[in-house]
Symmetry: C2
Subunit: 357 residues, 2 copies
Amino acid sequence: MLNVVIMAGGSGERFWPKSREKSPKQLLSIGSKDTMLQETVKRAQALTSLENIFIVTRIGLEEEIHKQVSHIPKENIINEPFARNTAAAIGLANIVIHKRDKDSITVVLPADHIIKDIGQFKKTITTACIAAEERHLVTIGIKPSYPETGYGYIHRGDKIGSDTPGIFKVVEFREKPDLKTAEEYFKEGEYYWNSGMFVWTTKCIEEAFKKHMPELYKALKVIGNSLSSSLSDEIIKGEYEKLEKISIDYGVMEKAENVSVVEGLFDWNDVGSWLALEKVYEKDDDGNIVVGDYIGIDTSNCILIGDKSPITTIGVSDLIIVNTGDVVLVCKKTEAQKVKKLLENIKQNKKLSLTLS
Amino acid sequence: MLNVVIMAGGSGERFWPKSREKSPKQLLSIGSKDTMLQETVKRAQALTSLENIFIVTRIGLEEEIHKQVSHIPKENIINEPFARNTAAAIGLANIVIHKRDKDSITVVLPADHIIKDIGQFKKTITTACIAAEERHLVTIGIKPSYPETGYGYIHRGDKIGSDTPGIFKVVEFREKPDLKTAEEYFKEGEYYWNSGMFVWTTKCIEEAFKKHMPELYKALKVIGNSLSSSLSDEIIKGEYEKLEKISIDYGVMEKAENVSVVEGLFDWNDVGSWLALEKVYEKDDDGNIVVGDYIGIDTSNCILIGDKSPITTIGVSDLIIVNTGDVVLVCKKTEAQKVKKLLENIKQNKKLSLTLS
């Protein structure tokens, strides 16, 4: 059976001030009427039936998630008691699924990607499932459209399997490169962006945890044995508390032998910062992206997000302006990566952190 | 008897979005805990007693004004049915005062000036009263501290009166100059900024209206005769409707012979635009003026007014940012004069004009 795990516990800090602790990016509408989570569920529904779609999230978001996707069975919303990065989240979902379905192929999808071409998305996942059935841990790679320095890269090797096109051995995972290296990767054509989407069998990833992350494996075993018990929540909490924060890429994918990459044949935007909106929305004649109420004079190349409270401007350019009514952010476009740092500063401000973080 | 007329009917459009139709600049706190009107009343109280202080304003503001300065007798708040510029406003106040006190010296003060040195202010007005008793129409001139192009200038002539220092004949009123001319005025030292403060006797200004603005004079006579009648409001409305919008400078001061200027010996700021705040508030180490809640990274030389809703910034400089919660303005400092134009655009927007103008 095909199961889908949607990773919806992120905090989307670089999307502050729209993204907040209690309403992170994936629960907002960006580039669509529906929220990013709702859009992700729609993609998952193209792959499997509702009862086979799981959502991993952090405690505190489950109610809003249930409200947004009430057609997903409530017991399929898996709550992590603490944020422990993607390896733990995937591991937790895996044991829940394994309990139900020992022969599952599992597709892991982040809840905060924009993918419009569902047909090509389905085609890619179908190819990945073929590799997964051959006991591969499959990662979905995105063909770079420019030399981005903000993503990890996957260096692909030889083609695997003669019958199915588009499956490749992974030579190496590469950290976020500097611009020069990114330009080389882009030119060479054998590098993919690491999208954070994965496909494997429940058994294969469990074996990989056993081999490469034995501590996590042990914790998951304890949790797995407790799942039907009334103490389950307490046991998960106790085990989680001890876990290291490690990503699935670092903890498993970079170490495992049986890793392959399938090229994603669809459009892809991980909405990593406010700048990502330039690929989501159409610009007006002055190069501005406008969402919500806006009136301006002599304003160009700005990203203007005033959907909760209007924005007005005179004589400015190359700015990101986000007005959420309770706070405004005015950020030079080239400094968009510093929003996370700004949020840290806000969290240290007693008066403002309560309402704004 | 000394009476003071405070002109409080302005709309303060260049101070949008803090200044609004229903709560214009003079009714806001700028550079002080108290509102500009309250500060102006305090200055007036240094000159005369409460029952001799009058406030001219436009219909719609009288309640808020009464709330702010409830110690001023309610009947001393004079409502104009329409805005007809300063000549009409001064004329209307003048007939109300003349009805009570035929021998009044009247001091006219705009409600939106910041003057901190009340001692020197009182001294200046006392000097002006001496000239007013000699049947002069006296304007208060401010010694320029730099070549401002946004004010009208007064070219002073010979000294008048041997006993009292600081009273000069007016050679000519000058329109707002270009920068080169302003620099000449500044260098020559015989030019004052036209502050919009005046001192005269009720009789003298009435005679001046009769001579230089006969239409207004006639309307004021009709209004004066109706003042105790129950039809007074209707009659004022009927007469006002016909009046031209003319300033007292253009309508009277530039034409009259008996005009003199007294140098204001006090600090003075007419808070003409957001930039004026640079002279009101202290800058922080990065050259920013901050009012209200603010958190920023790499931000310099900005005016940040977030007293109703916080402002956050990254990597910006030389901007005016005003966040009133219901709207934000982001304006390049050098374009501060265009706020008025922006407000015109807003007034033409059906959806936004209702709440934001």
